[in-house]
């Protein structure tokens, strides 16, 4: 059974159809890539799936349960975690304290509830180590506003992992990173998939995405124009037209 089913979802803003009858499904433990030019509706699709935006029409199922109009905190409680395109951590808090918020959510709270706030700190530090913060350094304790971009992306990922999600939706996770920073994040994603996570990755960095994705969906001006494995997408003529000049 598919983990996530998106059926004929549409959303318009003013006169513009940001998402136009898009349908796709994601199987468990699969990595689905969503690509498209700017303005093709990728982030709106993510917002609709995670509940930040209500679709005008269409339905969405997660683990067999309809989640179409659920607000973000409910989709997160069900197991869908998302990153944001513009990374905004809780600026004044130290990096590991950023994770206290998801650890306090009802989904996770029962695992760390023992009356002492110290437990959440320990879990937070463990999570940061998993995503690549050096544990015995001062980096996890620095205020989030002082962290470089690569660390902020990892922090965003840790914020999602703190929720122990079944589906992780990343919105341009690799944007703003140098080639070596991306190269160091790719094994992290592979490790997550090996551990059983299902991922939807909205990306512009096609080289890295095609290494990671099992299937790719291509959006153009709100419509789905192609779907298939990375090799199929590379050969697809419609995609080649839309992406003229794209670096594959």
């Amino acid at each position: 059974m598919d983990l996530l089913v998106v059926e004929e979802v549409s959303k318009g803003f003013g006169g513009i159809k940001a998402v136009d009858r898009v349908s796709f499904a994601v199987a468990p433990n699969e990595v689905l890539g969503i690509i498209g030019l700017n303005g093709s509706g990728k982030t709106t699709a993510v917002n609709i799936i995670t509940g930040f935006v209500k679709p005008d029409s269409g339905r969405i199922w997660f683990k067999g349960r309809e989640i179409t109009a659920l607000p973000p905190h409910k989709t997160a409680a069900l197991g869908i975690a998302r990153t944001f395109q513009t990374v905004r951590p809780f600026r004044n808090l130290p990096a590991f304290k950023n994770l206290i918020v998801p650890l306090y959510s009802p989904r996770i709270r029962k695992y760390t509830e023992s009356g002492r706030s110290g437990d959440r700190d320990a879990v937070a530090l463990d999570l940061l180590e998993e995503v690549g913060f050096e544990r015995d350094s001062h980096v996890p304790y620095k205020p989030a506003s002082t962290l470089p971009h690569g660390y902020l992306r990892r922090l965003e990922l840790a914020r999602c992992l703190a929720l122990r999600p079944d589906l992780l939706v990343t919105d341009e996770l690799f944007s703003g990173l140098s080639a070596s920073e991306v190269a160091s994040m790719v094994p992290l994603i592979e490790k997550l998939q090996q551990r059983g996570m299902t991922l939807i990755m909205v990306e512009h960095r096609l080289r890295e995405l095609f290494r990671l994705a099992n299937r790719v969906v291509v959006l153009d001006r709100g419509r789905k124009v192609a779907e298939g494995s990375p090799t199929e997408i590379v050969e697809n003529s419609t995609v080649k037209e839309t992406y003229l000049g794209a670096d594959l």
């Binding site: 995670t50 808090l93 306090y104």
Partner: protein
């Protein structure tokens, strides 16, 4: 040869981090003094002043300090800036008056009931406004107390423009002077403590980045409701206390002054620090009384002072004092 201002923590501040505060008497004093000394001064004040007039000013200061604290708590924990603290004050004031006059309840009960009922009613009234962001929330809260005032005036219910007279006073004058101080100090310390817990961290994060909090699985509205309930409970208690202090409640309990004063106290004392607005109240309320002799010039000098403070110390006095206490500044060559 360029210079820059460098700020580093004082050695004693670093030495007293965490449990090391207990390692010596001077360390303990360093940590305890800023809490202990003001508390002591506040508690001793009614015993030291002879004049009943100054006692009354002190009690008023504490009432308005509580109102300022309630404003600051809502602002720091949800990012919602309320321009209508008078709603909580007036609600508590009228509830206390009504419970006392119509049901004959003694001040002990009316205070407790007015606080709880006032908080609940105000929270229900503000529930539709909670999803509003920034200025829209501020505008709605501005209007609420004015709406209440005009309704009472127009319909002449619960006393109309004359107000309710003959409300019982406190049974004991020392109770009258001390209960508010204890409540104020207790609330300030409790809320500051709350802000250091994980729940407090979640609340502060709502004001920092609410989308990330939603994406982390937390129901914003639920937590905003909790924060508004607590804030409005404090405000209602202040209003109820005022009614019993003056044995009267009128439309002035919903006046715009009472919405502006907490903000002025927060600006003077330091927004977001919870203790700052209380300090601001302790400065502004006695100041307003002292300037009363100047007649209409009072408002001018009051306003000038506020402007001066905003221009030169926008961080607030509490933040300034804290910085001086904890950090050393010096000019270094670059």
């Amino acid at each position: 040869m360029a210079r820059r201002l460098e700020r580093i923590d004082r050695p004693i501040k670093v030495l007293t981090e965490d449990i090391y505060a207990l390692s010596s008497i001077s360390n303990m004093l360093y940590v305890a003094a800023p809490r202990f000394i003001p508390t002591l001064l506040v508690l001793l004040f009614p015993l030291l002043t002879p004049s009943a007039y100054m006692q009354r000013v002190a009690t008023l200061t504490a009432i308005y300090g509580l109102l300022a604290l309630s404003w600051d708590f809502i602002a720091v924990s949800t990012g919602l800036v309320s321009l209508g603290q008078a709603l909580f004050f007036g609600m508590g004031a009228y509830l206390a008056g009504l419970l006392n006059l119509h049901f004959g309840l003694p001040p002990a009960l009316t205070l407790a009931l007015a606080t709880i009922l006032g908080a609940s009613i105000c929270t229900v009234l503000l529930t539709p406004c909670l999803p509003l962001r920034g200025i829209y929330f501020a505008m709605t809260t501005l209007v609420y107390p004015l709406l209440m005032a005009r309704t009472i005036e127009a319909t002449a219910i619960i006393g109309g423009t004359d107000g309710l007279v003959g409300v019982d006073s406190f049974p004991d004058v020392w109770l009258e002077r001390y209960l508010i101080l204890i409540f104020l100090l207790g609330s300030t310390f409790s809320l500051r403590r709350l802000m250091t817990t994980d729940l407090g961290l979640v609340l502060r994060s709502i004001s920092d980045n609410d989308q990330a909090v939603r994406a982390s699985g937390i129901n914003l509205t639920q937590y905003k409701l909790i924060a508004v309930w607590i804030g409005s409970a404090l405000g209602s208690f202040a209003g109820a206390y005022f009614t019993h202090l003056y044995m009267f409640v009128g439309i002035s309990a919903f006046s715009l002054d009472l919405s502006i004063l907490p903000i002025a106290c927060a600006v003077v004392g330091g927004m977001g620090t919870l203790a700052g607005p209380v300090l601001g109240a302790f400065i502004l309320v006695p100041l307003a009384e002292m300037l009363r002799d100047l007649g209409t010039l009072r408002i001018v000098s009051y306003s000038l002072l506020l402007v001066a403070l905003v221009l030169f110390k926008p961080e607030g006095i509490m933040s300034y004092l804290k910085r001086k206490y904890e950090q050393v500044e010096r000019w270094v060559e670059v």
